[in-house]
């Protein structure tokens, strides 16, 4: 067996409070397509960012062709021969294909030192020809389809003489025909001796194109193997682990009447035909891998985005909110996924953040009746969440992630929601806060609030939910009783190997 092109050993990356990578290893040979597999948050992206010089690792070793390397920035990584093709193409839409390909390493006329566009165009033509691509080098990138932009990025990697090409979810925006084109190019790259690190959630693709795989879970290396010698079951088992060892608070659902009914809710390009019912006191889990469209579904229910099709009934009455204000008024609360970008105004004090959704209640004819009502309100709900801070007057940006999340929750409980939607409420927060959030969710359900819980952590969804709605690429693949199903079943529906007919029905 030839020596490894890339050898990663004991690689660790620690972010405040989180071990994103914990002594992982990865070994890649030239001429190999290597799948990196894992759930959301398994550490795949962190590894890619380290390999491309975006993050600096906390510990461990990376050997490229036997030599130890450490990148200070993305240019270092490029020069060493590692190029990543990103999920969302990072290109200059207003520039031509040639200009994009040679951005950062323009050719110059050796005598006049002027940029040699003629030579660059020629080379671009040659590269595109080699990949059998029918693209005019002078076309502006903005006029190309998403698939062709991907191809241009790959061409750019070739022009850089890359040894290792990293493809992060390269097919997520491609049609079936375009995927075939991409695979043709991947095979030709492989034949020319490049190594390809292929990150994908789609098992059919992995089994079609990849030779070898490595599985990560929760920032740890779990295992590796030859694709040909493995079965889907084996890989799924490695992804989800064996047991749900974490403890979740006791929750015996006392279901009240039906509060929300969603029928064939769709949004063009995001999700299609989502149907479910939700009862008072119920916790409905919403599970799916990246790109499944979970956040989009709840944003539409909350009225931030518009539905293109479908109907909803809130307490029996037809309901289609035009904006957050309307759905809040009807008793829906949405704790968004990204607390820093969507949940908080970081430069505002905790007091002002918590009172923001209920200013109408706290104000009289537009005047915020100052200290008393607001202070009492904020204290009541803040203390309920046990926020740790130097006081409610400090700005939200001074708090840790877990405490910020508590502020976001405190901000919403005061609106006395009947339906509480939580989008990844425990993402990136410490264990203690996580437990507090879980307890909070169960308390809300016990009070009769209907909860929709989005989570990428399978154990959390399994442990917290009464029922689980599983999505795959915008389609609803199953609604399962959490008590009666196994993690394997849920994961199978999430990667949709068992439910193609259900999805397209």
């Amino acid at each position: 067996m030839p020596d490894a092109l890339l050898e990663v050993t004991n690689l660790t990356k620690i972010f405040p409070g989180i071990r994103a990578l914990d002594e992982v290893k990865l070994s890649l040979r030239s001429g190999e397509v290597h799948a990196l597999i894992g759930e959301n948050g398994a550490g795949k992206s962190t590894l890619v960012k380290i390999l491309t010089g975006v993050y600096i690792p906390t510990g461990g070793k990376i050997l490229l062709e036997g030599k130890e390397i450490s990148f200070k920035n993305a240019i270092d990584a490029q020069q060493a021969g590692i190029v990543a093709i990103h999920q969302e193409a990072s290109m200059f839409p207003e520039l031509s294909v040639t200009e994009n390909i040679f951005m950062g390493h323009h050719l110059r006329n050796p005598k006049t030192k002027k940029l040699d566009w003629k030579a660059m165009t020629e080379q671009t033509k040659a590269l595109l020809g080699r990949m059998q691509l029918d693209i005019d080098p002078d076309t502006l990138v903005k006029n190309l389809s998403v698939a062709k932009r991907h191809m241009v990025e790959i061409t750019k990697a070739l022009s850089l003489d890359a040894k290792l090409v990293i493809m992060d979810e390269p097919t997520s925006a491609l049609t079936g025909r375009e995927v075939e084109d991409l695979f043709r190019i991947v095979r030709s790259l492989k034949e020319s001796g490049k190594a390809i690190l292929f990150i994908s959630h789609k098992f059919d693709e992995i089994f079609t194109i990849c030779d070898y795989y490595t599985v990560f879970r929760d920032g740890q290396y779990i295992g590796e193997g030859k694709v040909k010698e493995s079965t889907e079951d084996q890989i799924i088992n490695m992804m989800i682990g064996r047991s749900i060892d974490q403890l979740y608070p006791e929750h015996t659902p006392v279901l009240g009447k039906e509060i929300l009914k969603v029928e064939k809710l769709s949004q063009l390009g995001a999700f299609k035909h989502i149907s479910f019912t939700l009862h008072e006191g119920e916790i409905l889990g919403l599970f799916g891998l990246v790109g499944a469209g979970r956040s989009e579904v709840v944003r539409t229910i909350f009225g931030i985005d518009k539905a293109s099709e479908g109907t909803m009934y809130l307490e029996g009455k037809a309901f289609m909110p035009k904006g957050a204000r309307q759905s809040m008024h009807k008793g829906i609360a949405l704790v968004p996924e990204d607390r820093q970008k969507q949940g908080l105004v970081l430069k505002m004090s905790l007091t002002h953040n918590i009172s923001l959704p209920v200013l109408k209640l706290l104000s009289f004819k537009g005047m915020v009746t100052r200290s008393k009502a607001e202070k009492t309100y904020v204290l009541e709900h803040g203390n309920q969440m046990e926020i740790k801070s130097a006081g409610y007057h400090v700005d939200a940006e001074t708090l840790s992630g877990g405490n910020q999340q508590k502020v976001v929750l405190a901000k919403w409980i005061g609106t006395k929601p009947k339906i509480l939607i939580l989008d990844e409420p425990t993402k990136g927060i410490d264990v203690a806060t996580k437990a507090a959030v879980h307890q909070f969710i169960c308390d809300m359900a016990a009070k009769g609030v209907a909860v929709i819980l989005i989570s990428s952590e399978l154990p959390e969804v399994m442990g917290m939910s009464d029922r689980i709605l599983v999505m795959h690429e915008g389609y609803q693949t199953a609604i399962l009783d959490a008590q009666k199903c196994t993690a394997e079943t849920v994961m199978r529906y999430a990667i949709a190997t068992v439910a193609q007919e259900a999805a397209h029905a």
Partner: protein
């Protein structure tokens, strides 16, 4: 948990822009007073305050726009148009009382601000582009209105010209008006729902949307405030300087922005306060008035103003960077 040693209290105080500015103002006053003891005479202080009253009114309007992560470059032109309109009304109908002229100015300013706000909120044109257009449109309207002529002091009524100087309890009407504007809008910014929403939209429009804040409404409101205050300022300007010329208040937007930046208002929105803006205005006033005292010609005035803006912006950025570095260190630790 929290240590409250004297040094940490001092540090805390220095983090507040308002206190830093006050200290700086005092430091600045020492050499000036040494050079020219009459600088701190009641008469001179009164003059500085009166000179700065109009700027403080306009700067507060600019403050709300900047707070929402916008900018209003059209303030000078709104002042010119409303000032010209009030001057011409006074020239033709001398019997119209000054208070009515102020209201007319505010009404016209409100309409001009509304136009800005609607373009920004519903036309989705960035504030800097919108007001770059309207600064010229409104100035052009001023010329069209006046047909290029001036209104001079002897064409206006003494009651109008005398209005800003009339005193009540020892202070001029001009100062009283500025005081009322400052107080009312201070209250508005801190204790009204809309005021809170301006901070929210400027600080994080996405999070604001998630709690149902009507972004378009807030964007219109900030331009309405700015336009109305400029209209008031225009009516006062013509009276105080006893003339209405087409070029009046040219470049005034820079002084308004300078006062805000000096007062610690975050240029990308979401942070700052009216006290800071008022102190920023005062600081500009002292510097401008002190130039002759330290034997610098008034020709240096705009140069010095530009320099102050740059230094203030650099300081704001620096303290922001230090703050986020500290936060990061805290979280790592």
């Amino acid at each position: 948990m929290l240590e409250r040693s004297p040094s940490s209290l001092l540090k805390k105080a220095l983090e507040r822009r308002e206190l830093t500015l006050m200290l700086l103002l005092l430091v600045l006053l020492v050499p000036i007073t040494v050079r020219s003891p009459q600088f701190l005479s009641g008469e001179n202080i009164n003059r500085i305050l009166n000179d700065m009253a109009i700027l403080s009114i306009v700067a507060i309007g600019e403050f709300f726009v900047i707070l929402s992560n916008g900018i209003d470059l059209s303030v000078g032109s709104i002042i010119a148009f409303t000032g010209m309109a009030c001057g011409m009304i006074n020239e033709s109908y001398a019997s119209v009382p000054p208070v009515v002229l102020l209201l007319v100015g505010m009404g016209i300013g409100l309409l001009m601000g509304l136009f800005n706000g609607v373009l920004v909120a519903y036309g989705k044109i960035p504030p800097i582009i919108t007001t770059l257009g309207t600064v010229n449109i409104y100035r052009g309207l001023t010329f069209l209105l006046s047909k290029g002529t001036w209104v001079t002091a002897h064409e206006m009524s003494p009651s109008y010209i005398g209005f800003p100087r009339t005193t009540f309890l020892g202070l001029s009407y001009l100062l009283w008006i500025a005081f009322v504007v400052i107080t009312v809008l201070y209250y508005f910014s801190r204790y009204t729902r809309t005021g809170r929403e301006v901070y929210a939209i400027g600080g994080n429009p996405t999070a604001a949307k998630f709690v149902g804040v009507n972004e378009n409404r807030v964007r219109v409101v900030v331009f309405l405030i700015s336009g109305t205050l400029c209209g008031l300022a225009g009516a006062l300007w013509t009276a105080r300087y006893a003339s209405a010329v087409n070029e009046m208040a040219t470049g005034f937007e820079m002084q308004a922005v300078a006062a805000c930046v000096l007062g610690g208002v975050n240029f990308s929105g979401g942070a700052g306060g009216i006290i800071g803006v008022v102190l920023g205005t005062l600081f500009l006033g002292v510097v401008t008035n002190a130039l002759p005292v330290i034997y610098l010609s008034v020709f240096w005035q705009t140069f010095v103003q530009g320099l102050i803006i740059l230094v203030a912006l650099a300081l704001n950025t620096l303290s922001d960077q230090r703050k986020s570095a500290k936060l990061l260190a805290q979280r790592r630790g």
